[in-house]
Amino acid sequence: MLNRRTLLAAGAAAIAGPLAAPRIGHAADLTGVTADEIKIGSIFPYSGPASAYGVIGRLQQAFFKGINDAGGFQGRKLNFLTYDDGYSPPKAVEQARRLVEQDKVSFLFNTLGTPSNTAIQRYMNQRKVPHLFLATGADKWADPEHFPWTIGYQPSYRTEAQIFAKFMLEADRNAKLGILYQNDDFGKDYVNGVKDILGPRFDAMVKPVSYEVTDATIDSQVVQLQSLGCDAMLTAATPKFAAQTIRKVFDIGWRPKLHFITDVSISVGAVMNPAGPEKGVGVITAAYLKEPTDPAWANDPGLNEWRGWMRQHMPDADQTDGNYVYSYGVAKCMMQVLTQCNGDFSRENIMKQATSLSGVAIPSLINGITVSTSASNYHPIRQMQLAKWDGHTWERFGGLIEGAG
């Protein structure tokens, strides 16, 4: 009989129903996957201060469209949903929630920017949604213990510093290294990387000196490092300061035996030319991507594959922009994960396969560099090759060096 009590109970249940906590995913969470499509979520700064990186997202739109036009992937359409966050963390949170809760994507792929990813990392892990191959060089994405659903892609700044330190030890076991670093996350990753390799010898061998982004110049820091008797130098600075450093080191007549510079600041137009190309001769950096303008890759099969793809799918795009090489490579890496899934596109299995890559060759990576991950290794790319400035261009030399992480 319908009396007031049953009515109340029914009413309470009706209200409590939608209020109950979201159900935790079962063994196989197939959200975003149907018989004929897989939904992929993506966030890029198509507008705002970092919009130059928007081309990475544009290539990926064309990439997945190309696959769908050719019949899809194993009979499924890859539905690539990409939104703009304008490089603003609050907007990134909104877009991530939109993708996960409203669009119900299977996973997020190649979301760009350290601040934006920091803002959404905890959310992604709470929801147990794969947060794959982030487009940022920070080292903190490799933290499987606390954030098992988040994994980076490119070599981190820390890995690069490890590679520099390894090379330095090989060249001169007793070198005295001065580090000039920007006092933030980016700069500190380099100090930590060198520490990883030198261990207890760090204090004796290294003189770290920092500068602030707000400083006008780094002249006094350079002079200080010289007067401390350093004979090697590592510059972990953004382009403007890197150019100043190269010029100052040269102008005060200091000739360190080795001068490493972060791959953030190797642009010919923004760093080497303003510094004076002749003043930077001998400066060393590290690379993992094939530079599209490097004549050495003119007939490289991997880069030719990319060129062919570009001609077909993005004929109007600027082929000298390295971001397209990067984007094509990371998309290829994503396809390898989906292939490895072998038809099981549950979130658990996608994450499992993303962390079970072994020696995957990607056309955009310098030949020999491969992508490898495991349940405990969340650093997909750990190898780089050094390159030296010869006054005109960066010339790669030596073999591949692997970081420690």
């Binding site: 939608p18 703009d84 603003s88 609050p90 909104e94 996960v100 920091t118 996350d185 982004v213 707000t214």
Partner: protein
């Protein structure tokens, strides 16, 4: 307040008796409209509506100083940022409960606003706009400053946690936060409405309309202007604190210059010198950019611009102006 003694009292008594019944009906309708999403919207929509309510509060703050008092501010994003950081630092570094951060953020921003209000006295119109704009430009960089990095986390920012619903209420975090934000918004809107309907409110507007005449009538323009700036900054700071809690993260990149412009756009679209207008402004700045992106992926900025211009063309007085016109027609 000096103005109290001089404001003519005739105006206050000239108001007709309230049609109480119609107001009650309107209030019920508003209440149901605000509560409805709680039960019908998915948590992502609730989050967006929460953001819209937060922006509405921030825009209301801006409207007090710019709309009602005529001091153009293009830098209210700075107060929003300060409020957000006050909340984040109190929660993360001192482990204080989220609710205690809200009044604190309002007070801190009120004091900062008071400090800004003083030099603002000497600057009129466009000069004030530029000065406040420079504040908005400076704040993200100041937040990265090394000396305060221990508190602000530098470029890294600060992560905070969303509160759970208190008293074991069967609400998710998103639902609770929506309810809390809407309740605070209602409170702030009511206070602002009462303030503007008071003698002080009329003095604030009199200074905007004719400063010299207002002063000649004995109003203390300097004091009212700085106080208005302080109240305005405090309200926007409160919104900033709520945003830190809703987004669970603050960083210098969260408060770029564009934020101040966004608040300004929201104010104009909603209706300058209107209390209810900012509510529509908040909805506009949250939902229209997404709408623009859905219409065109290639040039969402163009679409946004077109929608904005269309809005200003069709609704010259903002949404509030339209409502006013509709109400006037009904009354006839």
């Amino acid at each position: 307040m000096a103005s109290e003694t001089t404001t003519p009292t005739v105006l206050a008594s000239a108001r007709p008796a309230r049609p109480a019944l119609r107001y009650a009906g309107l209030l019920w309708a508003i209440g149901i409209a605000l509560l409805l999403p709680l039960f019908t919207a998915e948590s992502y929509r609730l989050f967006q509506l929460t953001l819209a309510a937060i922006y509405a509060i921030a825009i209301l703050g801006l409207n007090l100083v710019t709309g009602y008092n005529g001091q153009i501010s293009l830098g209210h994003g700075a107060f929003y940022a300060v409020g957000a950081y006050v909340a984040a630092i109190m929660m993360d570094k001192f482990g204080l409960p989220y609710w205690s951060t809200l009044p604190s953020a309002a007070v801190v921003c009120g004091l900062v606003g008071y400090g800004i209000g003083f030099p603002a006295l000497r600057l009129g119109g466009l000069y004030l706009a530029l000065t406040t704009f420079s504040l908005a430009v400076a704040v993200p960089q100041i937040l990265k400053y090394k000396g305060i990095e221990e508190w602000t986390g530098g470029v890294q920012g600060v992560l905070v946690f969303k509160p759970d619903a208190p008293f074991g209420l069967p609400l998710s975090n998103d639902q609770y936060l929506y309810l809390l934000t809407v309740a605070i918004a209602l409170g702030v809107f009511l206070l602002a409405r009462n303030l503007m309907a008071s003698r002080i409110g009329r003095a604030i507007m009199a200074i905007r309309d004719h400063g010299l005449a207002a002063e000649a009538m004995g109003m203390d323009a300097a004091r009212l202007k700085t106080s208005t700036f302080a109240v305005s900054a405090g309200i926007t700071g409160l919104a900033g604190a709520l945003s830190a809690i809703a987004v669970e993260f603050v960083s210098p990149d969260s408060f770029q210059v564009a934020l101040s412009i966004t608040l300004f756009v929201g104010m104009v679209v909603g209706g300058v010198a209107s209390i209810i207008g900012p509510a529509f402004g908040g909805l506009f700045v949250v939902f229209v950019p997404n709408l623009a992106e859905e219409v065109s992926k290639a040039a969402p900025g163009v679409i946004y611009g077109i929608i904005l211009i269309a809005f200003l063309f069709v609704l010259p007085g903002g949404v509030a102006g339209l409502l006013r016109r509709l109400a006037a027609r009904l009354h006839r």
